[in-house]
Subunit: 352 residues, 2 copies
Amino acid sequence: MVEKATTSQGPYEIPHFSRPSVNTRVLLKNRPLAVPQPSDFAIDEAPVPVPGAGQLLIRNIYLSVDPAQRGWAQAEANYSDPVPLDGPMRGLAVGVVITSRHADYAEGEYLYGWFDWQDYAVVDPSKVILRAREALPLAQFAGLLGINGLTAYLALTGLGRPEAGDTLVVSTAAGAVGSLVGQIGKLMGCTTVGLTGDDEKVALCTERYGFDAAYNYKTADLERAVAQSAPSGVNVYFDNTGGGILDTVLRQMAVGGRIVQCGTAANAQWNPPPTGPRNEREILTRRLVWSGFVIFDHAAKYEAAASQLAAWYREGKLVTETDISDGVEHAPGAIAALYAGANRGKKLIYIG
Amino acid sequence: MVEKATTSQGPYEIPHFSRPSVNTRVLLKNRPLAVPQPSDFAIDEAPVPVPGAGQLLIRNIYLSVDPAQRGWAQAEANYSDPVPLDGPMRGLAVGVVITSRHADYAEGEYLYGWFDWQDYAVVDPSKVILRAREALPLAQFAGLLGINGLTAYLALTGLGRPEAGDTLVVSTAAGAVGSLVGQIGKLMGCTTVGLTGDDEKVALCTERYGFDAAYNYKTADLERAVAQSAPSGVNVYFDNTGGGILDTVLRQMAVGGRIVQCGTAANAQWNPPPTGPRNEREILTRRLVWSGFVIFDHAAKYEAAASQLAAWYREGKLVTETDISDGVEHAPGAIAALYAGANRGKKLIYIG
């Protein structure tokens, strides 16, 4: 198993992989209408691709499983083009440079980026999100320093703008993004309230992630619970679900509150859009600011965010949970499992 | 008729009023569930009140009719307390100081503020919004420099943040706020698109207020019209209606677009809230910023805004329409007429 307790700036060494001439890939075979199911994928084997001038050949080690992959697989216009059918599923990964034909990248260097769900990727440097240079376990570059951690930090600080004394409510609070949002909010002086979908996760929220209160939205009287935990109203709502949970929290926002829309996991399907109570009157009378966040708009801030997150982690101020399945055969069902809430923390597939 | 072509800093002269010892008032008698109707009000006569130390006695000249009065009259919690039953309807007015028991205010000085729907008001200086000092027709202090003009300027520039080249869509575009939003947007270099409710107003939008395009939302194919006028998407939507118009425009916002929620006139009643298509997925994928604006949060910026608006007006860069009814008997039906779209520009009741 390829694992490094810490990464560094070198000297680099390329690890050995079994079957180095086979590129095992997870192909998207059907365009799902809702959450992608195992039957929407097929695993195949192809030759290892060859990088051209200026390109890198990367061997992936951790495939990242992300809720946003649902949208990437669907056909509707979204913030990115749909994944081509019969091609490898679009995805993030941590990998090592096997062959570099670009002067800025060394062979043996670990990178995090758009390397897709396959063993080997040939990419331009534009597909690299972050170099794995901070002293951290390798899996953390797809977790704490991956889009989950970067999203938690940049969306909360940039759009949520929490101030000391604010009450911060977070949905999917035990998840990879939500658990970090709660901890970062706490570091910034907020009272933190986590909403999650089962009692085990409720316990995780308060015991492991330090939320001041947490509720199971499936069994709690959510309106009453939020009112009790946020008697002066909710100043920041970090929402990963949308749907009925959003409707309830939105109606308990304080004047001037900020809603960060970071995900919409509550509805699997948006065409046609489901209906719900109209919100414009609430936005007006409570003077809310409701903003959408997509991490890829914020690339210029990745390095600074990663550096802050890594520092907090090393100081013991952030804890993370990583849920790693071993073997590519776990990939086809992984997105559906994520939407079913089966993971505990950041979901990765190890293929080293 | 008391009218002044311009106002000034003095010397002041108190005009003469007929029946100076009678305070005619428009009382709120029933709490409306929706738009206040004439039957919700009664006109009575009371003695002229006497100011205490630090207070002002003001004789109103123009009563302002504002869409927000609907919310003030209703019982539900809102951004201000409900108007007490059997008291004068809460409202803005332009009036003249008859008696001043406060060193900062001179008798004969014209003021705009919270003087309610009555001839005479005794107020603390906290009820004054603006002194009528700019060289403008007196009615303009309840229009261009009243909350309509201040709202247009402060909400558009502060929350809409238009940039040259942006496409700005405005609902109730021929109204007191919308017509100014369109003109200010044009001064800032935007392509402006007005939405309004009849063909006569459509013509006003393009011919008088300089919108690049305008549509009757009751008869046009709104989706198609907006797509045609905003081929690269809508960068700023200044919304005074909510409802179906909002749903349509929201789905044509450009990535990073701003929605300013300034009114919700499309629905007369919000308890329970009407339903509509869910919008959180649009907010997320288009990275929108949807903000609510209530003018009274922005008092610190009134004077600077009023000065800019007055300068533009005197330079001939802004045109305004004022729709004045003569006599207090027009007040009880005025809010309902506003919601029925019967006014042309800023609605005032002259009681001088």
